[in-house]
Amino acid sequence: MNLSPLLLSVKVAVISTAIVFVLGVFLAHLFSKRQFFGKSIFESLFLLPLVLPPTVVGFGLLILFGKKGWIGSWLLETFDIQIVFTWTAAVIASVVVSFPLMYQSAAAAFDSLDNKLGDAARTMGASEWRVFRTITFPLAWPGLLAGLVLSFARGLGEFGATLMLAGYIPGKTDTIPMAIYFAVEAGKMEKATFWVVIITALGFSTILWLNWWSKRNLRRFASEKR
């Protein structure tokens, strides 16, 4: 059995989760506790991939990154880089569909923090960066980790947008969900079953671990409140 779908899926999910984490934490922190004109429009845009069919997201990405797309044609002409039909396309698709999960978790985590803690640090001479590093980030970590794990799981299972942008090229863009779809189409039910079991086990253990971990943390926070 060729295991390249497993390796590729994990590679794509790890890289896209790293990008989504940095981007989601940065934007959620920037937007948290600030009110400005157009904020809800931005936030709705961020969450849009959550409600749109993946094919629509993929279509949008093709418009941007296709060979004749706005960004795609520029990349091709300037750097001779092609995005479509590469594993980079799979990463981009994963980033877009999992970003809303990270953003929502991070925004909720930052919004629930007590403003006074940051203010107390500021009166003691802390810079904004130090407040973030020593107060905001560690206290928001449980929520950030939940977002991280959900984004990873979502990236691992991404299918629709990936198919539109990365296509199915065995050995190059065949992530597990792709391998399953095309195995079924070719009538290779045994191969499909194998990958279904693998990805179900991965997803299940991720969620199991997250539930166990957050319950443990809830207990800890509950005892702190007393």
Partner: protein, 223 residues
Amino acid sequence: MLDVSIRKRLNHFELDVSFQAHNEIIVLAGSSGAGKTSILQAIAGLTEPDSGIITLNGKSFFSGKKNSLPARSRNIGYLFQDYALFPHMTVERNIYYGLHKQTTATTGFIIEQLLTVLGISHLLDKYPHQISGGEKQRVALARALATEPDLLLLDEPLSALDEETREECQDELLRLHELWKIPFLIVTHSRSEAEKLGDRVLHLKKGLLVNESRGTMKETLVH
């Protein structure tokens, strides 16, 4: 000397106050929602007045929207109403948070003295959720004074404590003020506390200073 003269539009009224403070205890008294906390926040740099000036010992903190010193550069101690201790840090890390990495002999001595005066040396390894309300109050005081501030702001410092602990802590505040000799600005809605602690009591109503009285009980307590 602290010199405050500020205006700020709040939700239901305009805050408009002027006062000065030498190395004394000033109590800001008034019912809740009178604007007391907003005054402390403006002095600390956590909120900006609409106009006015704030200076401390000749150093300008605020003289208009474009001339505002950030909170981190004001060297002010602030005791928050519910103490705002960092829940993920031990008492020791809370107290040392505002100090630079290399603590000099003087700061070391000052912290030792604070820990002894406040009786909290045995709590250093504990987390905030493991200590009592009175202990939290003392730790927060030690933390606010550890940076050797030029001014101490206290927002309802004793309201969360039971009667007995409150009286102990009032005496402690008076003792600390004797040692520290900087202006203390205390917000309270308790009349008896205002009279016991304040050299001067400023009464605030809907954003305006309506009356000033002298603390009547303090003379007999300290001397």
